[in-house]
Amino acid sequence: MEEMKDIRQDFYVNMGPQHPSTHGVLRIVLRVEGERVISSETVLGYAHRGVEKMAESKTYVQMMPVMDRFDYVSSMLYEWAYVGAMERALGITPPERAEFIRVIMGELNRMASHFLWVGAFLLDLGAFTPFLWVFDARERILDMFEEVTGQRMTNNYFKIGGVHYDITPEFLKMVDDFLKMIYERMQDVEVLIESIIFLERVKDLGFITKEDVFNYGLTGPVARGSGVLVDTRKTEPYSVYEKINFEIPLGTKGDCYDRYRVRMQEILQSAKIVEQAVGMLPEGPYAEKAPKVVKLPEGEYYFAVESARGLLGVYLLSDGSTKPYRFKLRVPSFANLSIIDKLLPGNKISDVVAILGSVDIVVPEIDR
């Protein structure tokens, strides 16, 4: 009897470019058997704007506002990387006060990004209320940004040699109120989030081993969730991070719950950093005299910063003119997402959503 051909067709499910829980326009084609995922293939490019080609026909200063539009949730950290690369090339060191202002703004931006992540993560698991509770805390941070930089999200606040405007006393008062409020607000949010259903849905899911971290070049909370201590603020201290003491929260098992716990503790760590930075804020100028026409001397310049998602590097190659010869971004989400095709097979469809949420990606940052 000739061998029965396997007539079962493969059932492809398209978590398509428009899907409530892909955090933007990412498409994952899942080969599915019933509820279980057999294999998955990620399709990128739906938010590809071709900015690296655009950068080659724009001057250094014209590219400044575009830097906020990659990872719009932690936009000031992107500005920091770009400005840091140019300051390294021109040999300009910003004054002490500007450095502390940058640390305050960067850490507030990291908290805002983690707030948005926690809300979106719970939204993927089906709970709507934590999203709005956490967004309320994020709105307070956006008010502070608006107070100083004039813009809520894409603030274009850093410049070569410092920052555009000085911190106002009103801003410092807002920061103090926020820091007083944030600690018990995090307790409320945790009590609301950590219900038994959440723990069941998130524990022992999407394991990332230490070996994977090195193999896939993962950085940020995704790597720290597996216990690998990688944080550009410690390994490659830039600006005034040596003067501030803070620890790096580490996970143990590397499952979705550890990544969640790492990010929640990072919010409290960033609050501690902001507290110390506001305490140590010196008087003095907030910006260095920067050249009108920015011409980087010939050569390669690279500056890495710890963005909310991992190591963010800006690579500038200049041929001495006012326009970069080559501009490249080393994006943390690009590396962090590459492990998805290894994590997803074997899980159920509702787990796919949880794992993708725990890896915390921003799609326009990946597609550039």
Binding site: G45, P65, D136, E139, P364
Partner: protein, 161 residues
């Protein structure tokens, strides 16, 4: 032959609102615009902020974000429409049932925004392939701007688009 007057002038009686059926239907359409969750880039975060606690879209009945385009009647194009995504946006628009409206949120949706000059992957404005009703400028526009755009759309619907 009785000459039918051009415009039926309805005597104003306080308290009693003469509602031609169309007005009632427009009032209903205006007050329950269900947006499709359709975030592309930065403006999606401001749309979420508009739907969140502080600038609540639900006050105007527009807070029910329907995931499937079949049940939505307002498409807020929030973010950069890239060439690879343009065909998908068009299919989504076609999947929405009639009386549907499009609100172009942000400079990228209106004219390609920051990327309009040299970025090869960006479609310069969503109105090149979609009929847009309301343009909300800004990069990203504030949640209040989105709500103002929504109110303008409601006025437009009330007048009968």
């Amino acid at each position: 032959m009785v000459k039918i007057p051009e415009k039926i002038d309805v005597p104003y009686v306080p308290g009693v609102k003469f509602a031609v059926l169309e007005d009632v239907l427009n009032w209903a359409r205006k007050n329950s615009l269900w947006p499709a969750t359709f975030g592309l880039a930065c403006c999606a975060i401001e749309m979420m902020a508009a739907g969140a606690a502080r600038f609540d879209l639900d006050r105007f009945g527009a807070g029910v974000f329907r995931p499937s385009p079949r049940q939505a009647d307002l498409m807020i194009v929030a973010g950069t429409v890239t060439k690879k995504m343009a065909s998908r946006v068009k299919t989504l628009y076609e999947q929405m049932p009639a009386p549907k409206y499009v609100l172009a949120l942000g400079a990228c949706a209106i004219s390609g925004g920051v990327f309009c000059k040299d970025a090869y992957g960006v479609v310069k404005g969503v109105d090149t392939f979609l009929p847009v009703d309301v343009y909300v400028p800004g990069c990203p526009p504030r949640p209040e701007a989105l709500i103002y755009g929504l109110l303008e759309l409601q006025k437009k619907i009330q007048k009968g688009k």
